[in-house]
């Protein structure tokens, strides 16, 4: 039994972090955040060369063929750097194609996903988190109609996974006729959300039905939890560093227990949560009986402690923590969005209770 990361996994995180520090430092994130025409194509290109785009694509199709734990570790590193990269599609599209795609669909899309030539996004919010404002997509005769909201990376995606209201997943080409996209400004300027309109859009159904959607949901919950883990770790690190250098009353503020204990509380929440995310990701590939429950717990729990760390780390910085100039707010907002996307913690915990038979049906 071994509950630890392999040297390869540590290397993946370290080298991804180094690449991000080079191609996507905070100034670069800020430019992306401030300019809606900036697509961060340079960042995506560099990360594709790194192998990120093909992380979950099988080796035979030009990818790295890695599992969800590796993907979660990459997601953690992206969250740590608030990288302007829509990562969910990178993980979910190969998964969907491998589980529900035909030979032809795999042959067409997997190599393009692996090279980074095609970006994918998943429009799966409504059947998972609930539909509002008349959203929801209906499939009829191989065509999709309706609208899907809260789609990370949906503005630029060349391939869309779309879940209909019955929980079936479809492939839609980015250039399909009748597909309309609009930007949904959110609190998080580091990743853009789209609203997609479907007017009898041609779609190819994937096999697997709602079970495929359930797998995509579990994977997405783990990836979002891991992004929060990384973002929260970055906020804690920044708070500790600030507490060691900022002086008031003739002492560094980190020597005051009032401040020191806030830092300890953040670490005490975060460290065990790391093990929960690891296990949830591991279970997705290796412990099927635990997979859905642990994905839900990881998503909900990281949402809760992420919120606590986001506000507490900001408080440790005092007034400067609120400023745009410092940029701490990018992490704060990213954690906030991860919390709500694909179901807030209350919704996800209800699912966790149901999956273990605690709710009478």
């Amino acid at each position: 039994m071994d509950f630890s990361l392999t040297p390869d996994q540590r290397l993946l995180q370290d080298s991804l972090a180094r690449t991000l520090a080079e191609v996507s430092p905070l100034e670069r994130v800020r430019r992306f955040a401030d300019d809606p025409t900036d697509k961060a194509a340079d960042v995506w290109r560099a990360l594709s060369e790194f192998g990120l785009a093909g992380l979950a694509v099988p080796e035979g199709s030009g990818g790295l063929g890695l599992g969800l734990l590796d993907a979660a570790l990459a997601s953690e590193t992206l969250g740590q750097a608030v990288a302007p990269v829509p990562f969910l599609g990178v993980v979910l599209a190969p998964l969907a194609l491998m589980h529900g795609g035909s030979e032809a669909q795999r042959a067409e899309w997997l190599p393009k996903l692996a090279s980074g030539e095609v970006l994918a996004a998943a429009a799966i919010s409504e059947p998972i988190a609930g539909a509002r404002d008349g959203a929801g997509v209906v499939a009829e005769g191989g065509r999709l109609s309706g609208k899907a909201m809260f789609v990370p990376g949906g503005l630029a995606a060349g391939l869309l996974l779309v879940a209909d209201v019955a929980g079936h997943v479809h492939l839609v080409r980015g250039d399909a006729e009748g597909l309309a996209r609009s930007f949904m400004p959110s609190i998080d300027p580091t990743r853009r959300l789209a609203e997609l309109g479907f007017d009898a859009v041609a779609a190819e159904p994937l096999a697997g039905g709602p079970q495929l959607l359930a797998r995509l949901r579990d994977a997405a919950w783990v990836i979002l939890a891991a992004d929060t883990l990384g973002a929260a770790q970055a906020m804690l690190d920044k708070a500790v560093a600030y507490a060691q250098e900022r002086r008031q009353f003739g002492r560094v503020i980190g020597s005051f227990q009032a401040v020191k204990h806030l830092c300890a509380e953040m670490a005490a929440e975060l460290e065990p949560a790391r093990a929960l995310v690891w296990y949830a990701a591991y279970a997705f590939d290796h412990a099927p009986d635990d997979a859905s429950l642990m994905a839900a717990h990881a998503k909900a729990h990281l949402s809760e402690i992420g919120r606590f760390i986001a506000r507490t780390a900001t408080e440790v910085h005092g007034g400067v923590g609120m400023t745009d100039l410092l940029g701490l707010h990018y992490w704060f907002k990213r954690i906030g969005v991860n919390r709500q996307l694909l179901g807030g913690p209350e919704k996800v915990r209800e699912y966790a209770a149901r999956v273990q038979g605690l709710v009478e049906v």
Binding site: Q257, A264, R349
Partner: protein
């Protein structure tokens, strides 16, 4: 990461399972019929005192953290009681194994493991709580003996303990941390008075112990004279591991789920209340986080890597979680949650209420939550210590 069991480990797990199946009648509701007989059976089979050498009364197996983990898990699964885990077994024995003399090991470890000698811990004093090193109970040389005078506080089991492992000041001139010795004191020595200390639970889980010229051989010092602070830190390390034990927390959560799914009010199960269900799920996520954190620590221990922050947070988080689990049980029971002591409507013989109160004591004891936060911040995050106030 690979959590599958090797064939050897799977075989070992099956062995533990068959043992527990075969001895189902020796215990009921998590308590053995005969504590010492159960302990003897566990030692003979290697499920208690597993890695303690045979010469000292243990089972004598090579340390194997995975097997230890399998034993713990299977006992939880079967709802079977573990062996004796009092302060003698959990704290004194590991300390003697680490720093005791050969004679001390042979004399004390075996009877302690068998439950023949019960120990209490004499650390805290009225004036030395979080600042334990300022303790004032003094031991004055008198020939080959010490004469010990002073008092100890929060001494659980002192009223029926045979022996105490105790911190006393032997070198009053030395610096605060360097004048302390760790000494073993027979509780029937003249000059010792034990007064029960009743707590909010209504029971006397603790005592005050008073010493007046208590004569103890100098040979009873463990780990060398003046070295007591370092010996005690060895012991405290074991105590903190015991206080945040995720296995115990997981077992408690299991009882809570059972309560919420079987108990009804207005004909509805407590779990059918969405607020309680949501709180339960929040706690379950935390229990899993601590469980996997424990597996991570285990792996680190096997490979000889430092535990780091993951280890430093266990006592703080684990004790708080236990308290929250009891709180939810009481809240969900509603008015039945306020019953106590005895009566036909009392659930679990009042264990939830008692745990709720006693767990607060465990949040405070063994290094308060605030001291734990200092440790996490200073040793784990590298934040500076609070500067000492200028000497007046």
């Amino acid at each position: 990461m690979d959590l599958t069991l090797t064939p050897e480990m799977a075989r070992f797990r099956d062995e533990v399972r068959s043992f527990l199946d075969a001895h189902r009648d020796d215990h009921a509701h998590g308590a053995p019929k005969d504590v010492r007989a159960w302990q003897a059976l566990l030692i003979a089979n290697g499920y208690a005192a597993r890695t303690i050498p045979k010469d000292y009364g243990g089972y004598g197996a090579e340390p194997d953290i995975l097997k230890a983990r399998i034993i713990a898990e299977e006992f939880i699964r079967a709802g079977a009681p573990r062996g004796i885990a009092n302060q003698g077994v959990s704290m004194l024995v590991p300390t003697l194994l680490e720093v005791g003399s050969e004679e001390q090991k042979r004399r004390w470890i075996g009877p302690t493991l068998r439950g023949e000698i019960v120990w209490c811990q004499g650390y805290s004093e009225p004036g030395a709580g979080s600042d334990l090193a300022s303790l004032q109970t003094r031991a004055v040389e008198d020939g080959d003996d010490f004469l010990i005078s002073g008092s100890k506080l929060w001494t659980s089991t002192a009223q029926f303990a045979d022996m105490m492992f105790c911190l006393v000041r032997t070198e009053p001139q030395a610096a605060k941390h360097e004048g302390i010795s760790y000494v073993l004191i027979p509780m029937d020595t003249p000059g010792i008075e034990v007064r029960p200390l009743k707590t909010m639970t209504g029971q006397a889980e603790f005592n005050e112990v008073f010493f007046t010229d208590v004569r103890v051989p100098q040979a009873n010092v463990v780990g060398g004279r003046g070295r007591g602070w370092f010996v005690a830190n060895t012991t405290l390390k074991h105590e903190r591991g015991m206080l945040g034990d995720p296995n115990a927390t997981e077992a408690r959560l299991g009882s809570l789920i059972e309560l919420l799914t079987t108990e009804t009010v207005d004909g509805e199960r407590l779990i059918d209340n969405p607020v309680f269900r949501d709180r339960l799920m929040q706690l379950q996520a935390r229990v899993f986080a601590m469980k996997f954190n424990g597996l991570r620590l285990l792996t680190a221990a096997v490979s000889g890597e430092p535990a780091g922050l993951a280890g430093l947070v266990v006592k703080l988080q684990g004790c708080e979680l236990n308290h929250q689990i009891a709180a939810l049980a009481i809240d969900a029971l509603g008015e039945a949650g306020i019953l106590y002591q005895d009566g036909p409507h009392l659930r679990a013989k009042g264990a939830w209420q008692r745990n709720y109160m006693f767990d607060l004591g465990l949040i405070i004891g063994g290094g308060t939550a605030q001291i734990q936060k200092n440790i996490i911040a200073e040793r784990g995050l590298g934040l500076p210590r609070e500067p000492s106030p200028a000497k007046a």
